[in-house]
Amino acid sequence: MKKFSLLLCAFTAFALVLAGCGDKGGGASPAASSSSSGASQSDDTSKKLTLTMMVSTAAGGGWTDDHPMVKYLNDKFNIDLKFQWVPGDSYNEKLNVLAASNNFPDLFQIWDASTYSKWMQKGVFLDLQPLLADYPNLVGNVTEEAMTMMNPKGKVFGLPMYAPAFRSNLSIRQDWLDKLGLKTPGTVDEFYEVAKAFATKDPDGNGRPDTIGFSMSVSNSGDILGIDYLKGAFGLANRWKDDNGTLVAMQTQAEEWKALATYLRQAYSEGILDKDFPVNKERDPWNKLEGNTNGIAEVNPNEVYKQSVPTLQKLAPEADIVQLDPPAGPTGLRFANTITSTTKIVLNAKLDEEKQKRILQVIDFMFSDEGYIWSKNGIEGIHYTKNGDTYEKLDAFDNDRPQILSTWFIRRFDPGIQIRLWDDKTYVDKVLAWFEKTEPYAWTNPAAGLISETFSKSGIQLDQKFSAAIVKVITGSAPVESIDDAVKAWRDGGGDKIIEETNALYAELK
């Protein structure tokens, strides 16, 4: 009895506490200026504003308050930039507690498409549509498609975060091809033969059967990764396919899956496909390429020459990694791993006009030619030097990491996001060539960013069961016919509803 009344008091107290924070009008930003400066065209930056910005971090962390890049922005725009750095793997949790206490920063990212759409409807984000006209650099360096994606007509609640569509690009060990006297594979059958040779003909020349042809992985959310080029070749959709205006879900393409699974099953049993793939992490196929055991893998063109090749050459000095066009499937289809980013950069709707403009000015600067160079390379004299026409990186670049805003927060729609001033032209051309060459093979998902309610609830669980069934077929623990059962299970478990709901959302877009 005592315990119960104590709990009751706790609940009441708790409710009171929350009532106190229920005030939505208060707002997170400090006292706004008493009257807006009036000029809508250009903010005269005569007033120092404090801006808070939440940026997710990975290795190395964020910038310190006295960082030269921070100082630069503070001086240039007369602001006091306060960063809230958040380690990437806890970003969503942090965002949610900030939401619960209604304490959003001025500028931040939203990663999850369904969160974006929910909060957008609740008015958390500022509609940027009326303001964009003043910021040509921004508008000019973002594609129309990306700008409107996930936004209702006529409104822009968030700026798109660019990810190079072909950031995971298929590559192959050219030196192994040469050594074994093979030509570059063009069809999935030729691919199979080449991969088989890689696995069985000892291309690393050490007399041990320690090489494989290719690899893949399965994520915790039920996605089969690393073989998009095969999925596409066998006619599977990149999650969704537009078939005369209706969306078809890849989990219903039983025949295509059976063909692909049979192919992979054969490869697995002959030791061509990495037998450890069920326990691989996403980067493992690439790691194994760098580790001189895997012959074909998807790599990031912006990192392959600077990271992968040097690592590999320590083990195999004549190693050479070159781009491989996605092989053509039985019906001649060729598709490459294509990424569509659904991350949005948003502004807090409660910002006063001055702050809105100032923030957009900063972003616009980062999209301008001068600013783009600044965001990728740092400050001349501190992070690099210029001698006539040549540039040279300084040590401070590695220590200060001035490029993190462009890698982790916001950037132009340009595949060369990791190209630096001091990279020599042949290198730059080589890297950009990867992206250009993959263009014709774009494997688009027309429903990117559309989240159906049923998918929100049980979509991931269903996907996991589905991919588990496919994996069992590949490893030989289940017959190919079981895929029909898997498709049925997906449909019955909620898949049909997902198809219905997603199609409804899709129709609204038109």
Partner: protein, 288 residues
């Protein structure tokens, strides 16, 4: 112990054998972690499990110690651990002692309430709101206060106090000592094994503070070591985050270096606590 019987000898042989095997089984993989931190990425990716690197490298450690944020967060961790552990052990031992006396009124209810919190938790968001409401955000007090007492530690420590020999207490009461004196001057000093154990537990808990820190501390200059280091281990959660930082290869070596760096201070500290886990703290305290 000059003459051991045959069965005793066998027994001791078994004891030592088992312990040696256990130690090896534990040590080898751990050794691997340490070795990898001194190896190169290329070798680690190509070799699988190995214990002697072909190429030794201090690159990972150099990278870590060069980072400004590293030394800063290390210092923060020391501070958090120092104050935090003190708060923890003070509050826990006091409350545990108070609850160990069976004649204290309301004891059973309080014990139940404590246990209840071990099973039922409001969750991240409500706790955050409470911390926010008390104005503790961005202050280390948010960490020290939200984790002030671990119910498990409290319950077990209470158990230790309960099994404290009552003859000692009787003796001191007869001598006219008050409850608090009894606690401070007699029970505490003789409960060193328990105190040492839980101080160690809290020390490790504080040193490993990660989630609370990133939740409650907005200013990254206040972050403890774990937050800084864990950033190193993040695989890109979102497809639009790329991890490349030029000039340094991330990979297993630097990840293992972060593990070693966090673990070493704790391993160094352990011997100081170890001596309390040895026999004879109650020696000579009660006659007859």
């Amino acid at each position: 112990m000059n003459r051991m019987s045959g069965s005793d000898r066998t027994f001791m042989a078994v004891v030592y054998a088992v312990l040696i095997v256990a130690t090896l089984v534990v040590a080898l993989p751990f050794l691997y972690v340490v070795i990898v931190s001194f190896a190169t990425k290329a070798e680690v990716l190509s070799r699988g499990f190995f214990l002697v690197p072909k190429t030794w490298s201090l690159d990972s450690y150099q990278y870590l110690f060069r980072e400004r944020n590293f030394l800063l967060s290390f210092r923060n961790s020391l501070w958090i651990t120092l104050i935090g552990t003190f708060v923890n052990i003070a509050l826990t031992s006091m409350m545990a002692y108070g609850l160990s006396k069976s004649w204290v009124v309301g004891r059973k209810t309080m014990n139940m309430l404590v246990l209840f919190t071990m099973l039922f938790n409001g969750g991240i968001i409500p706790t955050y709101l409470v911390v926010n409401q008390f104005g503790l955000l961005d202050s280390y007090w948010s960490i020290w206060l939200t984790a002030a007492i671990a119910p498990f530690n409290l319950i077990v420590m209470r158990g230790f106090f309960q099994s404290f020999p009552s003859e000692l207490e009787e003796a001191s009461r007869i001598d006219g000592c008050g409850e608090l004196y009894l606690f401070r001057k007699i029970v505490l000093p003789l409960s060193m094994p328990a105190i040492a154990t839980f101080t160690l537990f809290y020390l490790v808990q504080n040193w490993n503070t990660y989630f609370n820190a990133l939740l409650y501390l907005n200013d990254s200059a206040k972050w403890p070591l774990q937050v800084f280091l864990r950033q190193m281990l993040i695989e890109a959660a979102d497809s639009s985050m790329t991890l490349e930082i030029e000039g340094f290869e991330f990979g297993p070596p630097v990840k293992m270096a972060t593990v070693v760096v966090t673990a070493v201070p704790l391993l160094v500290i352990y011997p100081f606590f170890q001596k309390h886990f040895n026999q004879g703290m109650l020696l000579g305290s009660v006659k007859g």
